[in-house]
C-alpha cells in the first residue's frame, strides 16, 4: 500500500499535475484580479447594446418576431434595478444566432457583431490568446 502511494506521488502523471497546478494558481491570481473589471464591462456593454437596439426599433419594424422578442427581453433585463446579466447574455445569444443565419441584418446586426468582437477581446484579455495547456 505504501509502495502504491509512493509510486503515485512520484509518477509522471502527478508531476504533470503539480506543474499544471502551479500554472493554474498563477492563472487564477491574474484571473481574479481581472474579473471585477471584466464583469462590469460586460454588463455595461450588454446594457448599452440592448438600449441602442430598442431605440432603433419603430412601430413599423420589419424584423422577425423572434428578433423583436429577444431585443425586448434583453432591454427589460438591462433596465432592471440590477441588470440581469445572464438574461441579457441569453438574448444576445439568440441575436447572434439570428445574425449567423441571416435573419438579422443591417444596423442591428452590426451592433451584435460589435458586441461579439468586444466580448471576445475581453475574453482574450482575461484568459489569454489560447495557448494549449496540456
Amino acid at each position: 500500500m505504501l509502495f502504491e502511494a509512493t509510486a503515485e506521488i512520484v509518477s509522471p502523471y502527478t508531476q504533470n499535475q503539480v506543474q499544471t497546478a502551479v500554472g493554474m494558481l498563477v492563472f487564477v491570481q491574474n484571473w481574479m484580479d481581472g474579473v471585477p473589471a471584466y464583469d462590469a464591462a460586460e454588463i455595461s456593454d450588454l446594457k448599452h447594446c440592448f438600449n441602442s437596439m430598442f431605440t432603433m426599433l419603430g412601430p413599423r419594424s420589419v424584423e422577425a418576431a423572434e428578433v423583436l422578442q429577444a431585443i425586448d427581453r434583453g432591454f427589460r433585463a438591462a433596465n432592471e434595478a440590477t441588470p440581469d446579466r445572464r438574461a441579457m447574455e441569453a438574448e444576445m445569444s439568440a441575436l447572434a444566432k439570428a445574425t449567423a443565419l441571416g435573419i438579422l441584418q443591417g444596423p442591428l446586426a452590426d451592433i451584435v457583431r460589435g458586441y461579439l468582437k468586444r466580448n471576445l477581446e475581453r475574453m482574450r484579455s482575461i484568459l489569454g490568446m489560447g495557448a494549449f495547456p496540456a
Partner: protein, 334 residues
C-alpha cells in the same frame, strides 16, 4: 489501478506465464479521456524470460469524453487487424469489479508526441516525412471496408446530409448538458448555423474523430502509431481533414505544425484520390472548433462538479478564446 490487482489480472489472462511480474508501473499524463498507466510485464514461458512494454487505459471518474471502452477496443482491434499503425490491443476487461472501472491493455509503442507548436520545431525533412506518413494513415482509414470489418455497429449515418446532421446533433446535445446554464453567443450561433446548413456527402468512411498533432507517436524515422480512438465513428471523410487542419492543432500556416495547409490538402488529395471539397471542409472546421469548445466545457463541468480532480480540466478554459475567435471568423460575426 494498482500492481497487485493488475498482476492478478494478468495471471488470469496468461495462465501459461510463470513468475509473472508487473514492473515500473506508473500513471502517465496524456490521453485525458482515460486514466493512462505505463508498465512492463515480465514472465517466463517455455523456460525463457520475456518482457513486454504495456499501457493500461482505465475509464475515468469524469473528464473530457463519455465514450464506451468496448467500442474503442473493437475499433482499435479492427484497425490493427487491417494493418494500420496502431498499438496492438491485447485485453479488454469490462467487469468493473476487477479494477473498480473497466479498462483495457495494449502494447506500449516507443516514440514521442507533440502539439502543433512543438512539431513546428522539428527539422523540415522530418516534418515532411511525418506529413506524408500522417496522411498515408488517414487515407488508409478512409479506404477501409468498414462493413466487411464489422464496424457498422458504430451506427451508419443516412446518406446525403445524415452524417453532418448526426455529428452536429451529437455535440449540440453535449453542449446543452454541460454548459452549466451559461450562454456562449458565438458557440450558440455556430450550432444554429451548423444545424441549418448541413453539408452532404455521398461517401461514408471510418472517421478517427481526433486525428491531429499530439495524437500520434513518432521518432526520427517517421510516424509509429495513431492513438486515442475513443471518438471514432462512421461519417464524412472531410471530418478528419477539417479537424486536423484547425489552427488549434497547427502552428501559424503549418497544418499540424508540419507543412503549409494548402500543400497539406494537395497531399491529402494525392494520397486519397479524392478532391478536397472546400465547402464541406469549412463546415467541418466550424464543427471542429465548436466540438473542441464543448469538450472544454465538459472538462470544466466535471471539474467544478467534483467528477474529476484532473488539474488540466479547468485550464482548458484558456483555449476558448481561440476557438470562439475561429467560430466568429468563419461565420462572419466579428
Amino acid at each position: 489501478m494498482d500492481t497487485k490487482r493488475l498482476t492478478d489480472y494478468m495471471r488470469s489472462r496468461m495462465p501459461e506465464a510463470q513468475d509473472l511480474a508487473v514492473v515500473d508501473f506508473k500513471r502517465i499524463p496524456g490521453g485525458s479521456s482515460r486514466e493512462t498507466y505505463s508498465f512492463d510485464l515480465q514472465w517466463t514461458q517455455n523456460g525463457e524470460r520475456r518482457s513486454r512494454p504495456l499501457i493500461g487505459r482505465r475509464d475515468p471518474t469524469g473528464g473530457l469524453l463519455k465514450t464506451e471502452r468496448e467500442r474503442e477496443y473493437k475499433i482499435v482491434d479492427a484497425v490493427f487487424e487491417a494493418g494500420l499503425k496502431v498499438p496492438e490491443p491485447l485485453f479488454l476487461e469490462i467487469d468493473a469489479s476487477t479494477m473498480d472501472r473497466p479498462f483495457f491493455i495494449m502494447h506500449r509503442e516507443r516514440g514521442r508526441t507533440g502539439y502543433g507548436y512543438q512539431m513546428a520545431m522539428e527539422a523540415p525533412k522530418l516534418r515532411e516525412k511525418l506529413a506524408d506518413d500522417f496522411l498515408t494513415e488517414l487515407a488508409g482509414i478512409q479506404a477501409l471496408d468498414w462493413r466487411a470489418m464489422g464496424l457498422d455497429f458504430l451506427g451508419v449515418p443516412e446518406s446525403g446530409e445524415g452524417a453532418a446532421r448526426a455529428v452536429a446533433e451529437h455535440w449540440y446535445e453535449i453542449y446543452e448538458k454541460d454548459r452549466l446554464e451559461e450562454h456562449y453567443p458565438l458557440l450558440d450561433a455556430a450550432f444554429a448555423w451548423l444545424r441549418a446548413n448541413p453539408v452532404s456527402t455521398d461517401r461514408i468512411t471510418l472517421v478517427h474523430g481526433d486525428f491531429r498533432s499530439g495524437n500520434y507517436l513518432f521518432d526520427e524515422n517517421g510516424l509509429i502509431a495513431m492513438l486515442d480512438w475513443e471518438m471514432a465513428h462512421l461519417g464524412d471523410p472531410m471530418e478528419d481533414l477539417g479537424w486536423t487542419t484547425m489552427p488549434l492543432w497547427g502552428h501559424e500556416q503549418l497544418a499540424g505544425g508540419l507543412i503549409d495547409r494548402e500543400k497539406f490538402c494537395r497531399l491529402y488529395e494525392k494520397k486519397t484520390g479524392s478532391r478536397v471539397d472546400q465547402k464541406r471542409l469549412t463546415w467541418y472546421q466550424i464543427l471542429g472548433n465548436a466540438k473542441m469548445a464543448v469538450i472544454c466545457l465538459t472538462g470544466i463541468c466535471d471539474f467544478t462538479q467534483g467528477r474529476t480532480s484532473d488539474m488540466t480540466m479547468p485550464m482548458l478554459t484558456l483555449i476558448l478564446p481561440m476557438l470562439m475567435g475561429e467560430l466568429g471568423r468563419h461565420l462572419g460575426l466579428l
